[in-house]
Amino acid sequence: MASRDSAKAPCRDRGRSALLTLAAVLIALPIGAMAAVAQLRGHGGPVRALAISADGQSAISSSFDSTAIRWSLTRNAAEQVLRFHSDAVNAVALLGEGRAATAGADGRIAIWTFGKAEPDAVLEGHTAPIVALTVSPDGATLASASWDHTVRLWPLAGGTPRVLDEHTQNVNGVAFTADGRALVSVSYDLSARIWPLSGAQTPTVVPMPTPLNAVAAGSDGEIAVGGADGKVYFLTVGGARAGEVAAGPRPVISIAISPDGSMVAAAGIGGAVAVIDRKTRTLARTLVGPGLPVWSVAFLPDSRTLLTGGADNIIRRWNAATGELVDPLLVETAGDPLAAYAGDRGAEVFRACVACHTLGADQANRAGPTLAGIFGRRIATAPGYKFSEALKRLDIVWTPETVSKLFEVGPQVYTPGTKMPEQRIGSEQDRAALVQFLERATKR
């Protein structure tokens, strides 16, 4: 665990960091992100996690684009982009006192003080992607769930983490009970485990009929878990089943309980968010967005307003009590960025690249840099993108031939040290079609 002393840096340094951070935000975010609407745009990839401050004034989101963003919910604007992780940022937690934790597919947890450009501390130990974070009610412990089959409990004051390693498959979710006396973890291994945090250390194992993706704990002790079968299951803190509600036909991937305990929001890959009345165990309403997976949900302290984030890269604000968007202008269909190229084989090949790259000069960087004007450009020189040192040292100019070679042999061979996932295009015709498409679509 790295030192956390830097959290006590002098105010002068903090001011400088804040200026640098603001500058980074202004450079990195598309203009739409700064507009005063209830729609929070800024991420260049699916929004994987959301957390809202206790006063409801701010939120933090994280994304496939390897960043987290701190938002002002009163100004509806981004206030800071947190860049540290080398892969998708899957989880966030607000720690109070202007601090937050982010965790990613790189297996690391970063502890941040808002306004500083670099994390105060980095927690390392997981050996696979981390997919969920939660902080204990007393703020002393951070829990992380990982695809290395473990849960880790990190004392935030420093010290060795406790490792909970009884799951036999990926752990997908983790939550503290409201009294802080137990921790609940849910896994792909068809079980929820309730771990007492004092006394006997043996967990209560709750067998379930489906892989579990998400968990939330209510203030009254009840636990809600979301399953890959599209159902929300309710458990007592003792592990007894206490009802179930079908949220929809598709797997539930994110779940939240309103602070007043009246509602459960369960988001699924089908693009809808089920709002469940906890008291009657019925589906009260369904929030229908643009039809793309909704990866994250979080209630504001008023227990009515719900934020959702999903595969269209946008954070939306809903009235969960009525099922309406707070700003009806936000109802929009996620457009197909390649619609204008229908029938173009090169565009179809490029479809595998859309998650990370944009084409036009007016489009922002995503997890990867924009490809606008790529031909004739030296590698690792696209403005506004943080390239790895390994790429900066390479002597490559992007031409139709070098782009084709990249996908013939694969990025790990052609550009060693790249963060780009390994992808190859075996067909020579497809590589040629891709290059021809890029020549047309990336002209400035």
């Binding site: 992607p129 890959i269 595969a311």
Partner: protein
């Protein structure tokens, strides 16, 4: 064209794990990955049932809906396959699958992400049928040889059925007519959005 499906008759599974072993052997599946597994519910208690789980090759496959790089495709036989050349190992399909099918190989360094692996219905991948490259990435392509998945062929109690959906549904209906519905055709409705009427 046949619509290929799996059917697991939970009243017949005896948890012998032959399907798991056959799959690993046929496709030389690496250590740590099980394309198929047997899950026992209520182990040792009244109502104990075992089911053999793998990719069910769903109608309107949810894994394809979440893939950010569109690496999934459905063959003319209804088999859901994916391209390991395109997969970036993000793991989103993990969340989407009701059957715990996607497997994610552990790799040494975080910088080198592993490609997702799953049951192919013994139908290989996008490479040429029966080619060495196809075998190395996806395992054997028995379908191209006119054979059905080995897991089902090996099943000693014929709990696990694989083949044309209409034919295996008919076999199951005949069993239900004789013995009663029992615990059902596990996963059938989830995967194919239909029930088997007896």
């Amino acid at each position: 064209m046949a619509r290929m499906k799996f059917l697991c008759d939970a009243d017949r599974c005896i948890e012998c794990n032959a399907c798991v072993t056959a799959c690993k052997n046929e496709h030389e599946v690496p250590w740590g990955i099980n394309r198929r597994r047997v899950v026992t519910i209520n182990d040792g208690k009244p109502g104990e049932r075992s089911v053999s789980m793998a990719c069910m090759h769903c109608t309107d496959a949810p894994c394809a809906a979440v893939c950010p790089v569109n690496c999934f495709y459905t063959t003319a036989d209804g088999v859901v396959l994916h391209s390991k050349d395109l997969c970036i190992g993000c793991g989103y399909c993990f969340y989407a699958c009701p059957f715990g099918a996607p497997q994610y190989p552990k790799v040494g360094n975080f910088g080198s992400r592993g490609k997702m692996d799953k049951c192919t219905f013994c139908a290989g991948g996008p490479e040429a049928d029966g080619s060495r490259e196809e075998y190395e990435k996806y395992g054997a392509n028995r379908l191209a040889e006119g054979k059905l998945p080995l897991c089902a062929e090996m099943c000693s109690t014929k709990s696990l059925l694989a083949g044309d959906g209409e034919i295996i549904a008919q076999i199951y209906k005949e069993r239900v007519m004789k013995r009663g519905y029992g615990s059902g055709a596990w996963g059938w409705k989830t995967a194919y959005r239909e029930t088997i009427e007896s």
